[in-house]
């Protein structure tokens, strides 16, 4: 009984002092990004696809918010992962998702250079087309407001606002305020300095605010700036 107690005490001490190592030893072997990337560098495509599984949603969403189009975003995301696999040797450890975002950024910017369709010139043009979400929502059944529908319409409108930003400001804003990247990760992904990230982010937020304030009456009260 004493030995059992002693053994349990040791286990508890180990868990308290080295929780990560103990969990890693006890749990199934779940390698981190760097380990998978290292395996991929040795030609293990399965390891690379495990990285794809972990980060494809993030990559697609960044591409989608940057390009504003689902089909283009899917193409850019696939090209990005293919390019990342081919250039996996250029990853030297550290922050894999920031490195991946750099590849995504390059693919998105390459696509945008060749895109023929221009983003909407102004918010008014979109409203004329009957795309204005909020007024329709506000005039929906007032006794049963659909929060989800309102959010969906708001999201659509916000996306249109994002498309009016220069693409470097747009992607910086998406990575920061939509996906929660740190400034350092954004600087790595955008291949620029921290000061530039701060400046772009501030200018992007200011522009979005100006656009939203100019159409404030279209925003639900809860979301007005």
């Amino acid at each position: 009984m004493i030995w059992l107690s002693f053994f349990l005490f040791l286990m508890a001490a180990a868990l308290l002092l080295w929780p990560k190592h103990v969990a890693h030893a006890v749990a199934l072997d779940e390698p981190d990004d760097d380990e998978l990337a290292h395996r991929a560098q040795r030609g293990d495509r399965t390891a690379f696809n495990r990285l794809v599984g972990r980060h494809q949603s993030l990559a697609y969403n960044v591409a989608y918010r940057t390009l504003g189009d689902g089909d283009r975003a899917a193409d850019a995301t696939q090209e990005a992962f293919l390019a990342a696999y081919r250039r996996i040797d250029s990853y030297h450890g550290g922050n894999f998702r920031a490195w991946l975002m750099r590849v995504v950024k390059n693919q998105c910017f390459d696509l945008m250079r060749y895109e023929k369709r221009r983003p909407a010139a102004s918010l008014d043009a979109m409203l004329v087309l009957g795309e204005a979400p909020t007024p329709a929502v506000e005039h929906a059944r007032p006794d049963a407001p659909d929060e989800a529908m309102m959010r969906a319409e708001l999201a659509s409108w916000l996306q249109e606002v994002l498309m009016q930003l220069p693409h470097d400001q747009r992607m910086t804003l998406v990575m920061s305020d939509v996906q929660g990247f740190s400034y350092e990760e954004i600087a790595t992904a955008m291949e620029t300095e921290l000061g530039t990230v701060k400046s772009r982010l501030f200018r992007a937020r200011r522009r979005v605010r100006e656009l939203l304030q100019s159409q404030a009456e279209l925003l639900p009260h809860a979301y007005r700036l």
């Binding site: 794809v52 293919l82 939509v178 701060k198």
Partner: protein
Amino acid sequence: MEHVEPILLSAFLDEEVTADERKQVEHHLAGCDACRAELQSLRATASLLRLLPEAPLPRTFYVTEAMVAPAPRAAESWWQRLMPRLAPLGAVAAMLLVLVLSAQLFMGGLGAPTATEPDIAASSMATEAPAGEIALEAEGNFDDASDDARVMEEPTEEAEDGPDAAMTLPEATEAAEEPEAAEEGDDAGNAAEPTEAVMEDNVLVDPPAAQPPVISARGNAEGGGSAQPGDGAAGSPAASGPSPLLNIATGLLLLAIFLLALRVLLYRRRAP
């Protein structure tokens, strides 16, 4: 009152400021309504963007085997097409160069392997010559062993400028002229004749027996080293030409270049 820079406010919102900047902003915000309003406006904008939902994946983006097939090569310039073919040639050339030079260095380190009887006789005569002079082969011996290395028994002062095992023909030719200059300073009476000897078709015409021997550049260059290892140690170290250490270093450098070329060649073949 001076307000906080809006960029700093934006960074403060994301907690991407230094400790000093944070204190400065917090202190200012405590007494400035305008900056507090600006900060609140920025916060609301950022919060609104966070409402953007996560777009569902239209499909998966796994990399398949078919995708990683080599991409078609873009049009290459003529030198880009030529380089892959030149790389193996360069590696082979570097390897041959290393082997040839290594052989020369090795032979030079061991000394001239062949010494015929006339050579030995000439060497014996040379040993009777004043100390510090190099033994030479007789003219007849020289003709018989035109391509053979000659024996150098006693390195002399002239040998400082004399040929070396590793010396190439042009260098040996130049070196042959230097002993002439050295001899002029050492043995003035003998200076003229060695000069004449060297000048005849670059072959040493052996002067009369009494003549102090001089080193022929041609023989030494072809022989690949007429100095015996012991000679180099016994005599002046500079008399045997470049030091063995330099030879080894040169050989290692060439070997390193060869290995590098080989590595580049193998890497290019292995890369997808």
